[in-house]
Symmetry: C2
Subunit: 674 residues, 2 copies
């Protein structure tokens, strides 16, 4: 245990650096970091266990920052820990610097998650805690690290806290410790203006252990963290009452603490005096970007302790690995995201089945083959057919993570964010299901996953108006065009930030699952039908032909010298095939193209694209989404039959007739086009 005076000095060092970063950048959030400095200093100098030599060490404790605007505090403590140079803190919020306004996932630098959109970070933490529990159930005590999250008033208010609070409590995630930096101030107001909830009581209602402390007091922070680590039944919420802008002074040296104005702008802009504040905290206003020598020593000492801790852990691990070579090999493969051999071609699909059912067939195989896969559903497992996986395993329960299924309840957003957290943790391959219409709820989380390159698999069933009787609230229309926007948006590695696949029949569904599992770079979305779909025609093995889906689009059926290209994704391709028969009888020759992913298709060579959809050839697109879903592919050479309005409640075959999704209408529309 370190001397408290030294600890306070280190916290002041974080305060000075934080305030200085914001001051220099003329942009950012100084007040929160100055309040949270004490906790983050105690955590990093005395509790958080990681390998200073190997940031990727899978045995590390994970720290998930929820409140990305607290980045100055985070970069400061990481600077003390040797992950950032002083010059890099000076480049805060500047072009090309490693210190952007909100932290972006960078394991080398000790940053587990991109943060900013409040609430999501703590959901990632809860998801990571689930992953750790899952792994511990399989690998025993070699998995003994702790998941920390840091949340603020905004995150506590965000709706997702309902899902995370409920599930973390229900599942008894005792490996999850969340610090709530409660400073009673948010961007626009004091918190009193928007809330009078009893946070402790609420988390107790969710079955959390709650400890309330002075969040600026080193001893209380230590005691709380120690208690939390000892807890063996529940997740712990440490409510730290902190002082916004702690140490801030006005020009006349009176206190400038607890001011809303210091939330989101430099101290000087907020009305405080930067120089007086730095002086008050023991720094030199002329040269504030400094690590005090005694603080350097404190963190050097911590580094040595960590080296010892890690060495001891690794020694214990090696003993275990020797005794359990198979498990150790598994563990290695899982954290390397190595897939087992899967004989995709041999997966027996029932012909003419719904693609959600085909997905269930694949999931049944994966449940038996991919031992580190976790599947989850937002109370729709028997409808989104993730039960194809569940029937070979069981759902997680408090104190029993031997299953591999998360029944998340009705909470699509929490579900998606927790699966992202599982993936960020590493060692597991998460997939989650719900109705496609409800992908809207997941978008905020998918966006951050797309930015981070987190390979979560989203299983979206009931892909169009053919939901039928449930009506327009449950019938996606604009969702396919919407989610495919992420295929057009690149991540910072130059990849399409998401892979979205809408397979055309059961065999293409097998292929889509293959692609999803093999995609370790970005999230993948699978868009699946509720209703049965007739298998597409094939000259030989339909599965082999469907493998061409790996290029995003391919020719399903071709006639020499065809008059028109018919293109679609999902079940509309089989409707085109019906239409093609009618056209053929009329002497009109067609090419049928299935486009499970426009984004992937656009990533192929120009030559390939031109070979599938040659310019100048007439094209007819059929989509159960908005016409714009296919207009980019059809271009000026043809037309698209799509939905122009919300759907309607009725049996889906009636809707097919009423809305023109029949072979007959394809025939008629193509005749008009030619």
């Amino acid at each position: 245990m370190n001397d408290n005076a030294l600890m306070n000095k280190a916290a002041d060092n974080i305060r000075i650096l934080s305030a200085s970063m914001v001051e220099k950048a003329k942009s950012g959030h100084p007040g929160g970091p100055m309040g949270g400095a004490d906790f983050i200093n105690v955590l990093y100098s005395e509790f958080l266990e990681y390998d200073p030599e190997n940031p990727h060490w899978e045995g590390r404790d994970r720290f998930f920052l929820d409140a990305g605007h607290m980045s100055p505090m985070f970069y400061s403590v990481l600077c003390l820990s040797g992950k950032f140079s002083i010059d890099e803190t000076k480049a805060f919020r500047q072009w090309g610097s490693p210190t952007p306004g909100h932290p972006e996932r960078d394991i080398e630098r000790g940053i587990e998650n991109t943060s900013g959109p409040l609430g999501q970070g703590h959901a990632y933490g809860a998801g990571a805690a689930v992953a750790a529990k899952f792994l511990k159930a399989r690998l025993g005590d070699t998995i003994d690290h702790t998941i920390y999250a840091y949340i603020t008033d905004g995150g506590i208010q965000e709706e997702i806290s309902q899902g995370v609070g409920r599930l973390a409590g229900h599942l008894g995630l005792d490996n999850f410790i969340m610090f709530y930096d409660s400073n009673n101030i948010q961007l626009s107001t004091t918190t009193d203006a928007v809330t009078s909830e009893d946070v402790a009581k609420k988390y107790e209602a969710w079955n959390w252990k709650v400890i309330t402390i002075d969040g600026n007091n080193v001893d209380e922070i230590r005691k709380a963290l120690t208690e939390a680590k000892a807890e063996k039944e529940r997740p712990t919420l440490i409510i730290g009452n902190t002082i916004m802008g702690r140490g801030a002074l006005a020009a006349d040296c009176t206190s400038f603490e607890c001011q809303v104005s210091t939330h989101g702008q430099p101290l000087s802009a907020a009305g405080a005096d930067f120089a007086q504040t730095v002086k008050n905290l023991g720094g030199d206003p002329e040269n504030p970007f400094v690590i005090f020598p005694e603080v350097t020593a404190l963190y050097e000492k911590r580094k040595k302790e960590l080296n010892d801790i890690v060495a001891a852990k690794k020694a214990r691990y090696n003993v275990w690995a020797k005794a359990n070579p198979e498990l150790a090999a598994k563990k290695h493969r899982w954290f390397a995201r190595e897939l087992p051999e899967i004989d995709w071609a041999s997966i027996g699909q029932k012909p003419d089945n719904a693609t959600r059912a085909a997905s269930a067939t694949v999931l049944g195989v994966l449940a038996q083959k991919v031992e580190n896969m976790i599947v989850a559903s937002a109370d729709l497992s028997n409808s989104d057919k993730t039960d194809g996986f569940l029937k070979y395993t069981k759902a997680f329960e408090k104190n029993d993570f031997s299953g591999a299924f998360l029944q998340a309840g009705v909470a699509e957003f929490t579900l998606s964010a927790m699966c992202i957290g599982m993936s960020l943790h590493g060692g597991v391959i998460p997939a989650c299901g719900t109705f496609f219409a409800f992908s809207d709820y997941m978008k905020p989380a998918i966006r951050v996953a797309a930015l981070m390159g987190t390979p979560v698999i989203f299983i979206w069933t009931h892909d169009a108006f053919r939901v039928g009787e449930d009506g327009p609230t449950h019938q996606p229309v604009e969702q396919e065009a919407q989610i495919r926007l992420l295929e057009k948006l690149q991540n910072h590695h130059g990849q399409n930030s998401m892979l979205v696949l809408r397979p055309a029949d059961v065999h293409e569904t097998t292929v889509a699952w293959k692609m999803a599992l093999e995609n370790a770079q970005t999230p993948t979305g699978l868009i699946l039908s509720r209703q049965n779909i007739k298998d597409l025609p094939a000259a030989g093995s339909r599965y082999k032909e469907a493998l061409q889906a790996e290029k995003g689009a391919y020719v399903v059926q071709d006639e020499n010298d065809y008059d028109v290209i018919l293109l679609a994704s999902g079940s509309e391709v089989s409707t085109l095939a019906e239409g093609a028969e009618l056209l053929k009888a009329d002497g009109i020759k067609t090419r049928i193209v299935s486009v499970p992913s426009e984004g992937l298709f656009r990533s192929q060579t120009k030559e390939y694209q031109e070979s599938i959809l040659p310019e100048g050839k007439k094209k007819f697109g059929l989509t159960a989404g908005l016409p714009v879903t296919l207009e980019g592919l059809v271009g000026a050479d043809g037309k698209v039959w799509g939905m122009n309005s919300f759907g309607f409640s009725a049996p889906y075959k009636i809707l097919d007739e009423k809305l023109g999704y029949t072979g007959k209408n394809v025939y008629e529309q193509v005749k008009k086009l030619l």
Copy 2:
């Protein structure tokens, strides 16, 4: 008070009708309605006050169903109340029937909200309660109706319950009574599998009054509703423990209650026996679509009571209206959504200002002119500049709704859904603000508003990467293309389901606000800049020229015989103007087109569209969104410069340079194009 045996008979009648509707449709949810029948019967036969002769009477109690899948129960009780015929219940879930799978807003039929996506309905209820409080603060005791909501296990789990619970408790919405139909069963599992939260304790933590009852017991329901109506400080949650599939029998006449299988399919498909069940409930399995004579009498009696209640209320109202003619006239105008005269042309905009600041200027005028306007923000009022409104009023507080501003805290989804609820209530004009990147969080609610045609105004600021230092999590890219999908999607009245406006300068912002306020048919989104924008060139009054925005797109500046059309929305239009200057110096003649709304533009005559963007003319589009945002307008005649990746953290002027959003790059790209 009615005889309990009769009340139970009426509830059984609802059970029979509900089960029969699902059975006949071969689709739907029978179990929940059979459990909730007792509560809904007590509510409609003894408590809910409305005018049987005038469904639109503004003094009516509002009933918001959260769980749309409980539609059979709802249609059944509305059938008993004379709002639906027996034949219409028989047409449940069929094409063209007024009884779709999930209820769709239809005031004539007594349906206040479209439901289905769980959780949203109770947020509408809380919003309606806020609207009623707001009106009561202005119109006194003429506003004395109660807002009811009906929620189930799924809705209680949905994340939005966090926001609604917090805000309704914080604001002391004692006019809000929510029945929680707790049957411990959801679609996939019993609730035990996903939650162990103490719901009563949680709502108490949010400062609600909580009453727990047997939800199938008439006396307990009555007592709870009476207590709840008497509560004068807090919203009330009535937790009704109910029995899923109450009265259901198997073929051997053993109980088939409390079965997960009866949640989402006909009783017969679930394993129960439909005929035995109907018999058990006192009906005739051969002819189950019947209202029992004594139940008809019960609801006839209620109708008479209601006529008396309403007559008395109207008499009291008339006395008040005579004494307060000005207030009465106001009330009439507010509920008719009549706008006051606003001299839009005279609104003094500071030149070259950010459009969010221009929006604040307009909001300042509206705060003084539009007395029934409510503005809200998700903890960003000083950043989304809704504080332009706030400075003329104050925020709502418990027991004081004399202000007109809702500080919603960090809860964008709740904010949007509650504003929708305010609008559904009527009498008020709600608008809400947040950052455009966070429109993602609002999408699920916007979609339902678009379907219902609810005219909420969304104020989205920080419209592009020029958010700057906050970085990619806060920088919208795909959001403009995403939200404009709703401009392409029509509601069931054949209108674009949303109006989305991204004004190009301060004057166009005034016009955009004019359009938003005048749009009483659909939601409107205003997409506004963080940074200053140079006013567009104008031959005469720029405001007058900007009025052409009412056609969705218009010519800002034109040269005879122009070589190329430059088109954009928002601040990119002024960048085009810079580029046009450079091109002019080079002898290249341009036309500049501002397109605040492609959807609206596409609703104009073909002639108008062709006059603004003639086919065959070269076109260059500039967008800070994805290129696809403008590709539909530019077509094959040109190219679009847009964002292909997530943004970056840096000062926005640096980003403009790095990403090519300068007059110079416009010049270079256009040169390449020509």
